[in-house]
Assembly symmetry: C2
Homo-oligomer: 162 residues x 2
DNA sequence: ACGAGTCAGTTCTGAAATCGAACGTACTTT
DNA sequence: AAAGTACGTTCGATTTCAGAACTGACTCGT
């Protein structure tokens, strides 16, 4: 299966991965959330080859996750900014970072900490229910067929949840 | 840069991606959370080649995300189950699926819906602050150097947040 | 005026990963 | 005995990636 075919599956996971399911794409997005906006800055910070970076920035722009904005005319220079769509990826990035903090941190502890400006505290991200506000645990989630469901294979095979 | 080198960076994002930063790995994990446990079931549902699947299941097992458990002896057969470490990836998967629901769903609407068993409602996952319980927005997060920080490049270049 | 530096890419070649399909092994079912 | 199930491995052809050099348009220092 190719990336393009992945996008056509009636599975939100597959469709999202057709946009961000690549290590460099996610590393680029991490840097975007840290405020990086220019080609050479991405390249130096990530150590990715220029060819790959060029390709990934183009893909993200085409997907509407980044916006390519000119900041000078002669010579033409642009910067890449997160769109609304891109900003909505924040939970994905934070969840990934948090898992690394908990399960992959070395002896020395976490490389970075997050402070919630509105309450002032150092915090961990918690995934909670939009309706009752309580934290969501894996076994408390039931997967139900939605209106956009096609007869694919993204439903539980029989019983759910492992 | 190779995958192995990624794991050695003092960045939780990079370290996590060295484990799950691959489209097939994430598709396998999606199916794990839907209750899929056996080789051929993964293969049929995902359409991935058997070689890749074999490799990814081995990697996930080595990383402690899945556990390979025998369910019969003659012939020896195993199933792959999420460990505690693996279950902790639930927020990552849910966040990715939710982004797809919001930004990649077709005309027909979402392919699947989630029900929160403890409150009974259909819900969206919301990332909130472990300290005050409020939803976390991109601009409300400040990144701070932690104890495990090495002089790498995962801090904001100057000012934060885009 | 001249070379050095910045910024945003493109182009090249060899190395590595991936695809699709077939094959192997050890059982169970018909 | 033949077909099916389960879990992989192996193989050659294709695709992607890494590392490095190169282009082009401009700016800055001397």
């Amino acid at each position: 299966m190719k990336w393009d075919e992945l996008a056509e599956q009636s599975c939100s996971m597959a469709r999202t991965l057709s946009v961000i399911g690549d290590r460099w794409t996610l590393m680029v997005l991490r840097d975007c959330f840290l405020g990086v906006r220019r080609f050479d800055d991405f390249q130096r910070r990530l150590g990715v080859t220029r060819g790959i970076l060029s390709d990934r920035l183009r893909q993200l722009t085409e997907a509407g996750v980044l916006d390519k904005v000119a900041y000078q005319d002669r010579p033409p220079r642009h910067e890449y900014r997160l769109t609304r769509r891109g900003l909505d990826l924040h939970p994905v990035i934070l969840s990934i970072v948090h898992w690394g903090d908990v399960h992959m941190a070395g002896e020395a502890g976490r490389p970075i900490l997050h402070r919630h400006k509105t309450c002032g505290a150092l915090f961990d991200p918690v995934l909670s229910c939009s309706e009752c506000g309580e934290p969501v645990r894996p076994h408390d989630v039931e997967v139900i067929r939605g209106p956009g469901h096609a007869a694919d294979r993204h439903m539980p095979p029989d019983e759910a949840e492992g």
